[in-house]
Amino acid sequence: MVTPILPLVMSGAVVKRRSKTLLGPVDLTISQSGFTIIMGPNGAGKTTLLRSLHGLERFAQGQQRWQVPLQEARRRQGFVFQSPIMLRRSVLENLIYPLRLRGTKRGRATALARDWAQRVGLDDALDHPAPQLSGGEKQKLALARALIPQPDIVFLDEPCANLDGRATREIETILQKANAAGTRIVMATHNIGQAKRLATDVVFLLNGQIAEQSPAHAFFNTPQTPQAAALLRGDIVE
């Protein structure tokens, strides 16, 4: 039995850049299961919060703790950036890369990569250079690359921004399958419809602070803050 890496407990975390506070102080616990959606207007700190949870930001104050040592926790999580970063290699090589980092043998890694390419609909493009794919294909590849090492938790930063309906639906389907298979998901999005389709709970950010954190049905039916209510009505929230 492998020790679960969650819950992740973040306490009093503050992220600053050039003495400007981007985030915090934030207290947040990521429980063992579910699909957390992070919402909030531009500049509210959604990206910074995700990057902090993943360990890409340095805290000015505060800390966070996984249930396993940090090195192990880092290996057991994935991140999908808003604009996907493609290695200058083929699609197949991009999928193999995270497995090879973990010491998986090339043959087994290739088999797994083919399987995942099929799941995200890229099996015809295995030998294409990844940087030449379309925006939606790149995002699907980035998603598959994050999921292929079977992480315990995946963070996604607006993975469907700039994508059309079909690509968005495909990505949502992949995410829901992964979530059903036990992968914890934390995702930022602007899209209220998408949040309603996917969320089990919602974190609502305003000016770098958590303004509201509640189960999805409660958040969407009876938002506690006027800003969240305005956002859900479709008003502009600044």
């Binding site: 993943h54 890409l56 090195q71 880092r74 290996r75 994935g78 991140f79 950036f81 970063i85 290695l87 200058r88 290699r89 890369y97 995270p98 980092l101 250079p129 940087p131 030449q132």
Partner: protein, 234 residues
């Protein structure tokens, strides 16, 4: 005008008939420059990559010095290497002055900053692109360096070829430290300088054709490699 035409045709003829002197000089040129390029690449490529990844206090200063060293005057490099290797110099006991080894040393000094600078820029660009991803995947330092070198291999090859292009056409330094000794340290550029001085334009032109041919080939290679990189960004 007639002299020039005669020279050109005679020079062409020397190339076509593989004149023994011309072949010997060409091979010496290639031996010196290829060796120098390989040695310089072994020093410069890892250094360039390291400079792109590591953050340290005097990094900007080191990069500025490196870029300034690209414009190092070959004659001055030749002079300094000469002083170092001459009988009264610190390395005089090695007896390297007026040998191909001395020429290789001079060329290594001239092209290493060039190769390192181009390699640094290329690796820096890829690192800027990959940074968040490689951190996110919690790669080790070695895994990062290997990834960057592998994905930047075309750019690094371009850097090495640029170094070769500069070294093969260089005359000032190798003239001083090599001495342009017949059958010993005579290479294409020094031979052209000598034959032109003597007024023997046919051999000078023949050597010139070979030199231009080499330089053009190298530049076509750089161009071909560079373009595939732009097309696919990989």
């Amino acid at each position: 005008m007639g002299d020039i035409w005669e020279g050109i045709s005679a020079g062409f003829w020397l190339v076509v008939t593989l004149d023994p002197d011309l072949v010997e000089i060409t091979l010496m040129s290639l031996r010196v420059t290829v060796t120098a390029t390989i040695v310089a690449s072994c020093l410069a490529l890892p250094f360039g990559a390291w400079l792109a990844i590591r953050r340290f206090r005097y990094r900007r200063f080191v990069i500025a010095v490196l870029n300034a060293l690209m414009g190092l005057p070959p004659v001055v490099v030749g002079l300094i290497v000469y002083l170092m290797l001459s009988r009264s110099g610190p390395f005089g006991v090695l007896g390297l002055l007026f040998t191909p080894t001395a020429m290789i040393i001079a060329q290594v000094i001239i092209v290493t900053p060039l190769i390192a600078s181009i390699a640094h820029q290329a690796i820096r660009d890829i690192w800027a692109e990959y940074h968040d991803l490689l951190i996110s995947m919690s790669t080790s330092k070695w895994q990062r360096i290997l990834t960057l070198i592998w994905d930047g291999r075309r750019a690094l090859l371009t850097a090495a070829l640029a170094g070769f292009g500069r070294a093969i056409g260089e005359v000032g330094a190798i003239m001083i430290v090599g001495g342009n000794i017949d059958h010993a340290t005579r290479v294409l550029t020094t031979a052209i300088a000598l034959e032109t001085g003597k007024g023997d334009f046919s051999l000078a032109l023949g050597l010139g054709f070979v030199l231009i041919g080499l330089a053009v080939t190298v530049n076509i290679l750089i161009h071909a490699i560079g373009r595939t990189e732009r097309d696919g960004k990989w």
